[in-house]
Structures are given as C-alpha cells and as structure tokens.
Amino acid sequence: MDWTRILANVVGEFFSPLTAAYAIAAIGLNIHFGLTGLLNMGQAGFMLIGAYGFAITTLAGGSALAGILVGLVAAVVFSLILGMPTLRLRGDYLAIVTIAAAEIVRLIARSTSMTWLTGGNAGIAGDGFKNAFHETCPFPSGNTTVLWWTYPNCYSNSWWLRIVAWVLVGLFCLLVWRLMRSPWGRVLKGIREDEDAVRSLGKNVYSYKMQALVLGGVLGAIAGIIYVLPQAVQADSMGRPTTFFVWTLLLLGGAATVFGPVLGSVLLWAVLMLIRSVMRDVIPMSVLSSEQIEAFSFITVGVTLMLLVIFRPQGILGDKKELAINVR
C-alpha cells in the first residue's frame, strides 16, 4: 500500500474546494439551525439555485460577478418564498417544506422540458460556464506543485479556486463570530431557546427568522457555486444526500459554534477519502466494486449521523448546555 499517496490524498481533502463548499453550506445551515433553530432540510436546494444562477448567467455572457449576483438574488427570492408560508408554523413543517422545495428545484432543473435552460438531466458541462471565473485569475496559466499536490493555477480544480474558497470560508467564520456576539445574534439565539419569551420582549420573531433564513440561504448559494466550479452543474449531484451530508458535518463539528462547520467538513471528507483510498488499495475489485466502496462510505455517513445525534448531539466543539437540539 502506497501510504504517501494515500496521505497526500487525505491531506489534499483538507483544503479541497469541495471541503470548502461543504463548509460554507454548513456555515449557512449553522445560521439556520445552530443560531436560530430553523430545521432547514433543503440546503442542497439553495446550492442548486446558486449553481444554476451562476452557470446560466455566465453562459449567457455575464461576468463572474454578475453570475454570483444572480445566484444570490435567486437564493434570496427562494428563501422568501419558502419562509413566508412556513416560518409561522411548527419546526418540523419547515423541515418538510424545505426538503420538498429542494426536490422541486432539482426535479425542475433535471426535467427534459428545461433542457434549453438547465441542460436537463445532463446538466451544464464545465467548459462553458467556468471561463468567467477563470478570467478573474491573477496567475499565469499552467500547473503548480506544492509538496505532493499538483493542481492547475487557474483552470477548474485550481489553486485559484482553493484560495478564493478558503478566503470565503474565513470571512464567513468571521461573520458568524461577529453575528453571534451582536444584539441581532442574541435575538436569534433567544428565538432558538424560547420563541415566546423573545416575542414578549417586543421582537418581531417572524422577521428575525426570515432574515436568518435568507442569510443562511445566501451562503448555501455561494457554496453551490464553489461546489460546481471544479466540475459540472448536474441537478442530481445536489440532491437530498447533499443536504444530509451538510447536516452530518455540521453536527459532527458542532452546531452553534464558529468553527464547527469547518472542522466537520474537513474531518468528514478527509475520513471518507481515507476509507475509500484504503479500501480501494486493500480490497480487490472482484470482492468490492468501486460503486460498493462508494456506497459503503455513504453508509458510514448515515451511521455517523445517527450515532452523533444519539450520543453527542453537541458535536466535537459544541457546548451541550447551549444546544439541546429540541427546537420546537
């Protein structure tokens, strides 16, 4: 077994764009769930909306900035539509509605009748929409090798994307850290703990919940853009499993903490990479196919989620006293 290569793969996951995208999606979900107690089970829907907004705009000739703006505006509209009917209802209704809405987005995006806009089931191939982002790259073209990792400077799964993604992760962590200490964040936490108490203090609970939903959804859309930049846009790649991954890594790192989502994302993806690489090396293809190894790693995630909620709902970094998951 080639341990250097496996370790390089695993450590490579620490700073991959995928890990950053999931971390940002989880930071968004943390604003929903960790801070406000909203059960958003449709974070993948926000990611899809951001990704398609960006890809369609840049394909039509828009700049990267315009693409991002369209993605964000679409996510804001989506969260308003979602929030208006559901934020007055009990928590599990929001869960069902968000998961249904995310599925609707996915079904529409993959529908044959939408092929002219979204590419239908095949999605949008990478070479078209990525150029707008590549044009923002300050580096010369070519590859750069740092220690064991060789990536293109600008193109696709690039160093430039890694830098942008992780700077964004840092910025959003800073944002959450500031928010948690602001009066606004304290109201959100109050809503999480006791909605009626906050209402009795004269706060408009509905409006605060809506603001949190929009902010977290916007982060989800940004995560979606980063998620598709190294690959292609494909509706089924951001389905319910994606949402459940985001939940798992948020609960793994610790909800209602600043660094929990980042730690969770890094850990989850590195461990998954470790499991897959080792299994591929150790187990011959005739015993377990690569699809089965893939399936096995998903089983691991599902079981991890169950065990986390049962035995350590506060995750690695969380404070059990602060976060009893039971929001209403």
């Binding site: 009748s113 790649s237 089965q292 995630v301 599902g302 079981v303 991890t304």
Partner: protein, 473 residues
Amino acid sequence: MHGAAVRGVRPGQARAALVVLLLSLVLTMLVAPFAGATTGEQCSPDASTACIQGRIRTAAGDPAVGVKLSVEGQGFTGEAITDDDGRWSVAVTEDGDYAVTLDVATLPAGESLRNPGDNPRTVTAKLGTAAATLFPLGSGGGSAPSPTPGDPASPTDPGTAAPGGDAEAGVDSSARPGSITFPRVAQQFTSGIIFGLLLALASVGLSLIYGTTGLSSFSHGEQVTLGALAAYIFAQMLHLPLLVAGILAVLVGAASGWVQDAGLWKPLRKRGMGPVQLMIITIGLSMALQYTYQFFLGGGRLRISIATPTSVNLGGVIITHQSLLSTAIALLALGGVAYFLKGTWTGRATRAVSDNPALAAASGINVERIIRLVWVMGAGLAALGGVLIGLYFNVTSWNMGGTILLLMFAAVTLGGLGTAFGALAGSIVIGLVSEMSSLVIPSDLRYAGALLILILVLLVRPQGILGRAERIG
C-alpha cells in the same frame, strides 16, 4: 462486512444500529457475490472501466423500458435493463470483444428487432471509452447502424454519461404532455387512483407512527424499498412463486418494524429524546439503509416479476391484470386497517394513544405495546406497498422508497399529520395530482407538482384536510 465496519465506528453502541440493519443484511448476504454485476446506469468510462451502452427506442420513438440485455466476454458476464429513458449500460474492466444479447422476450408488447440477425452481436470495448450499441426496433427493412466502438457516447444520446444515481423510479412512456382527450383523462385518472391507493399503504403507516410517537420518519421510504427488494430476492433469486414472495416480503417488512422499535426507537424514547432528534436519526438511518441496499444489490433496476403483463380494456381504460389485482389487495389491506382502527378494541386504543398518550396510559392502555404494534403494522403495510408499487411500475431499485418518500409526506401532511384516514385521503389526492398533472405538464415534473401541492396546503390549511387546528404550533 458492513457489521464489522459499524462496530469500528462505535464499539459498545453500534448494537442498536446493527440490529436495525440485521434483517436486510441477512437477506442480502445471499446475493452479495452477485452485486456489482448490474451496475445499471452508473457506468462512466475511466482508466479502468469501459462502458457498453445504448438506448433502445420503440418503433414510434418512445423509450423502451425494462428491456433486458446481457454482455459476455473476456471472462465477464453482466446484465442491464433499460431505464425510463430506454438507456442501458454495462461496465467492463478489460479491453476486447464482448457479445451483447438482447432478451427479445422483454421487449415492450408489439415491438420486435428490426434486424433479428444482429442479435447477439459483438462489440469491441476499449478502456476509458463508451461503446454505443444500438438495437433498432420496428419491422424489418432499414439497415442496422453498426456499433461504433470508441465513440465517447452514441451520437443520438449525448446525455448518456450523466450520472443517474438519483433517477426516478416512475415509468412513463411519454415525456411531454399531449392533447387532453377524454380517453387520456380517464386513463390518467385510473392510474392516479391506483397509484394513490398503493401510496396510501405506505402513508398510513407513516401517519400512524407519527400519530402515536410524534416521529416524522424519514426512513419510512426505506421500509417501502425493503418490501420491494425482499420480494425481488424471493421471487427472482430464490425463484419462489410471486404470491409467496410477496407474503414473505410483507412478513420481512413487519419483522423489521418490530426489530426497529425494539432495538432502536424504544430505547431512544426511554432516553427521553425529542421528536427533532429522532427525526434527524431517521435521516441517518435512511441514508445507511438506502446505501446498504445499493451495496448489496447494486444501483441498477430490478424487476420483481419478469412476466410480460397482460392488459384488459375497461371501457377505454387499459389496465394490466397485475394492477387490478394490486388494487384489490390494496383495498383489502386498507379496509382491514380501517376496520382495525374503528371496530376493534386495540384499534380504538391506538387512536386513543394517538390523541393523547398520557391520558391513554392513565386509562389503562399499554402505550408501549400499542406503539410496537403500530411499528409492526406500519412497516408491514409499507412493505406491502413496496411490493405492489414495484409490480405496478414493473421496476424497483435501491432508492425507490426515497423517491416516493416526499409524496408520502405530502399525502400525510395533506390529510392532516397523524390521522390515518387523512393519510388515505391525502394519498389519493397526491396520486391523482401526480398522474393527472402529466396531462398538462411534462411527466418528469409530475412529482414536483405533487410537492407543490404540499407547500400550498401548508400555506392555506396547515392542519390538512382532516386534521385539527390544535396540531399546528
């Protein structure tokens, strides 16, 4: 394999999860060596994989669904079944010539190969590429296009390489809405009622479980899949008669409900876990179960019965005998549940627990016993629903239940969370909406239409059709 890994995650505590998975594990152990042979739609060429694939259309140009093909050569044997779009693919791991055989018996009724002499045919596969293999259907005449080895994808279907891991389980021959004519409306209406009744089998259990325990079980879809897959294993792998396979599948489903409640949910209830935590646990369970199915049975499409269904024409509406029988069984089962809930002491006790567990316990009802019964019944009904839905669509797969889970939630919410009769009414509405909507919107959006109804209902009447306002927060 899986059990060992679970133990690795958390030694002392994996028991509960292990027990839950035990049932499917034992069943599917039998077929583990078989897994992976039918990689179905998941083939994408890479350095160690070549794909042999194609798309089969009927003479009229509609996708031919459920056609079975086998690929043999270089010491490899594999099978594929065409999906909703008529696509099929087989992944092979060695360069060389492969013989591709189309099972003529599985062609849609009235279809035949245009060039029967081309079956079986030899295809040259090269690692890292996809070899398109076309089997044109229709009456003889035109010359068959020769296979085009090395082509990244067949020229006629640029979308073949798209990952289909989350494809829908539904089967529909037309992707676009046609004109609205009375026969079509009648046909879709009938399909809607049948689908609604089958969906109701699954939803009633979900609703009962929610009513008695407050749990929104996201893993209920996997109970449905369990029924369908168990029927597939009994009927196709152990070659039992379909009826026996169906009954055994329902028993397996019911037993899994018992095991789940005894091994997982009861201990968690004792720990005083709240509904939201339990809901997230069901999400984890759903993921683990779904991919356990995929692990053992592969990501391809499976058919519980390979017999060609025979149809009967009822006043312009064409229905297969199988669907008629399925409907009768569903009605019988639902009638049984209704009688149980209304007519028996235990059923009344169940409704009492559903209304107010504390009061029910105070009036001498053994709440835990009722909850166990509800789990067994709910899981058994879901398995029955899975078997019948698998037969109705003539195809099942590892994620079938996951696909209809949200329709079940829509039905339950629509009817009013926690009321069994509401779930029945809601299921019929959702069945009708999803089938009738394909008259006006593309049929691959019909489930989206049903989910939109769910959101609209929550907007207008959150307590559902038969629910009471006190249930909303």
